[in-house]
């Protein structure tokens, strides 16, 4: 290997190291994406066709309930401090209009335009202290301790609840 090539390789590896360092969250916080919330067995089963509407949920006797996804959460994430990007669906605002409780979902419009995310793709967040949120249309990073309700078949609790510690606007990786 020539000297120049070596230098380039060194520079590249240094750059990568810097880039990785910039992207890694602080110690003790695991940065995850929405795939990580699915149990390992379900990750490969991506169905590209849009899920049909869920007509029979109210028992109209038309189509069978065909909602995609499942309730099964990923138990490995229980008690882990995570950092997850998502969109905020506000539920409660406390004093001074700060947001206390919300659903974190993988895409905006989870509420209206497209079929709802399955229960294991919704995180119910309760902030320890209210957080400021100016627009519900902007993505946010949310950091906190994730709790997984293992026994979800009875719909007793939300599959994922997060004790929210911090919420900050999402920034593109390139910035």
């Amino acid at each position: 290997m020539s000297m120049t090539a070596r230098l380039i390789a060194l520079a590249l590896s240094l750059l990568t190291a810097v880039a990785v360092a910039a992207a890694t969250p602080p110690k003790g916080v695991r940065q995850i994406d929405w795939q990580a919330l699915l149990p390992v067995a379900e990750r490969g089963s991506y169905n590209p066709s849009p899920p049909p509407p869920i007509h029979d949920y109210l028992g109209e006797g038309s189509m069978a309930a065909l909602q995609t996804g499942s309730y099964t959460p990923n138990p490995e994430l229980n008690g882990v401090r995570v950092k997850l990007p998502g969109f905020v669906v506000p539920l409660e605002r406390g004093k001074n209009g700060l947001i206390d409780e919300f659903f974190l979902v993988p895409y905006f419009g989870a509420c209206i335009h497209v079929p709802p995310p399955p229960p294991n793709q919704i995180v119910y967040v309760k902030m320890r202290a209210g957080a400021g949120l100016s627009s519900i249309e902007d993505a946010q990073w949310v950091t906190g301790i994730l709790h997984v309700a293992i026994k979800t078949s009875e719909l007793g609790a939300a599959a994922y609840t997060l004790e929210g510690e911090k919420m900050e606007p999402y920034q593109f990786a390139g910035h």
């Binding site: 869920i54 109210l58 109209e60 506000p90 406390g94 659903f103 509420c111 709802p116 519900i136 719909l155």
Partner: protein, 420 residues
């Protein structure tokens, strides 16, 4: 210290102009502070009005419209929800509770809301606060009514009083439900939400009132159904205006919402109250920002008025400056003098403005609550408000630099020689 004393004495000498300048600043500060307090109160009212409910369901309309007419009682419904659809959703296994809401009548300007006692158990506001009774309790009879705090207070009602409800939404109307009076059995505690301005009756009561109404008018006297006869009839309502839903599991909220929005038997709309509320606030926020900008400009105008009055006074005060110089005042003393003057005017103006705001608040708050449903608390200024007030004083000092610099320059030579 002598400079401060001198400055204040000098201002006192010109107390007429000074007090008008202070008044101008005070009025502008009161406007800005008033707008700030109003918007904070309005926002608080918006965000605290309903909580704990996962979905709000009504006839298909817009999310904001549904929220406005069913929760804020502003405007009216375009269509109702059939009783059958309501029961179907209310009895769904994933649904924990529902609160039916039936609107359309009034009592002396206060809206009448038909519901059941689940309302008192499950309606929450301001986070986790639930409704409380200051007197009496929930409804037990068809013709029982529970009053919101403001209704009882402004109409001086007590338990056991009989009230007549009006058909429609006007405060005065000839279309009365006189033949079926309601008895006050409960009075709710103050909530600071539209609940305070609502008369609550049972859904059956609403049905009974309208049992002999056809095509918008009551049947002729001979065909009317007496209050006690109505009890024997089937009083299950045909429809309700809207209802709130609490889910057993919050993660099913989206699924239920989608199912309701795509329900084939009836066009319905389900919204997450929090989302609709935020959308509404972002809409109202535009007017709110505009108002704040206007108020800020009024403050600027007030400060410019101060600048004008100080600058014009400079000419009249050349003698004063000359005398000060002749007794040994340095130009920097004159500079400080002018700056103290601007500061004094601004600080007095700000204090007078705060005072004025509180006076207006004490006088106007019941009108605001009664007419517009905005509850402005009388509290100490918030940190943000204190920051704004400090900024005004600093801005005044900044503006005060101009006459101070001018006086500084002039006093070096001016005033001692007599010009013709």
């Amino acid at each position: 210290m002598p400079i401060l004393h001198l400055s204040l004495r000098s201002l006192w000498n010109r107390r007429m102009t000074a007090s008008i300048t202070i008044a101008a600043i005070a009025v502008s500060v009161a406007l800005l502070l008033g707008v700030q307090m109003l918007r904070a109160a309005a926002k608080e009212g918006f965000t605290q009005t309903v909580s704990g409910a996962d979905l709000l369901v009504g006839a298909r309309t817009g999310p904001l419209n549904l929220l406005l007419y069913s929760i804020f009682r502003i405007g009216d419904a375009t269509a109702n929800v059939s009783w059958a659809s309501y029961r179907k959703i209310a009895t769904h296994p994933d649904v924990a509770w529902t609160i039916p809401i039936s609107l359309g009548d009034t009592h002396r300007g206060f809206r009448v809301l038909g519901t059941n006692n689940d309302y008192f158990a499950h309606y929450h506001f301001a986070g986790t606060q639930s409704l409380t009774f200051t007197a009496g309790g929930p409804m037990r009879d068809i013709y029982d009514a529970v009053l919101g705090a403001d209704v009882a207070r402004s109409l001086h009602y007590r338990l056991g009083d009989n009230i007549t409800l009006l058909h429609g939404l006007g405060a005065v109307s000839f279309a009365e439900h006189k033949d079926k009076p309601f008895r006050v059995v409960g009075i709710l505690g103050k909530t600071g939400t539209p609940v305070d301005r609502t008369v609550h009756v049972s859904l059956e009561g609403i049905s009974a009132m309208h049992i002999d109404w056809q095509s918008g008018v009551q049947a002729p006297p001979a065909l009317r159904v007496k209050a006690d006869e109505a009890r024997k009839r089937d009083l299950t309502p045909d429809s309700i205006t809207a209802f709130l839903v609490g889910m057993r599991s919050k993660v099913m909220t989206f699924t239920m919402q989608r199912a309701i929005n795509e329900y084939r038997q009836e066009p319905l709309l389900a919204v997450l109250p929090g989302v609709a509320r935020d959308q509404m606030w972002s809409l109202v926020g535009i007017a709110d920002t505009a108002l704040t900008v206007v108020a800020a400009f009024v403050v600027l105008a007030g400060l410019l008025g101060m600048l004008t009055s100080i600058l014009t006074s400079l000419n009249e005060r050349r003698r004063e400056m000359a005398i000060l110089r002749s007794v040994g005042a340095m130009p920097r003393h004159v500079f400080t003098l002018m700056l103290i003057e601007a500061g004094t005017l601004a600080i007095s103006g700000v204090f007078a403005g705060v005072f004025l705001t509180y006076i207006l608040l004490v006088v106007g708050r019941s009108v605001l609550a009664d007419r517009f449903g905005i509850y402005v608390p009388i509290a100490l200024p918030t940190l943000q408000e204190v920051e704004i007030l400090t900024a005004i004083v600093l801005a005044a000092l900044g503006i005060g630099l101009l006459p101070a610099a001018q006086a500084y320059r002039r006093t070096l030579s001016d005033g001692l020689q007599i010009r013709v």
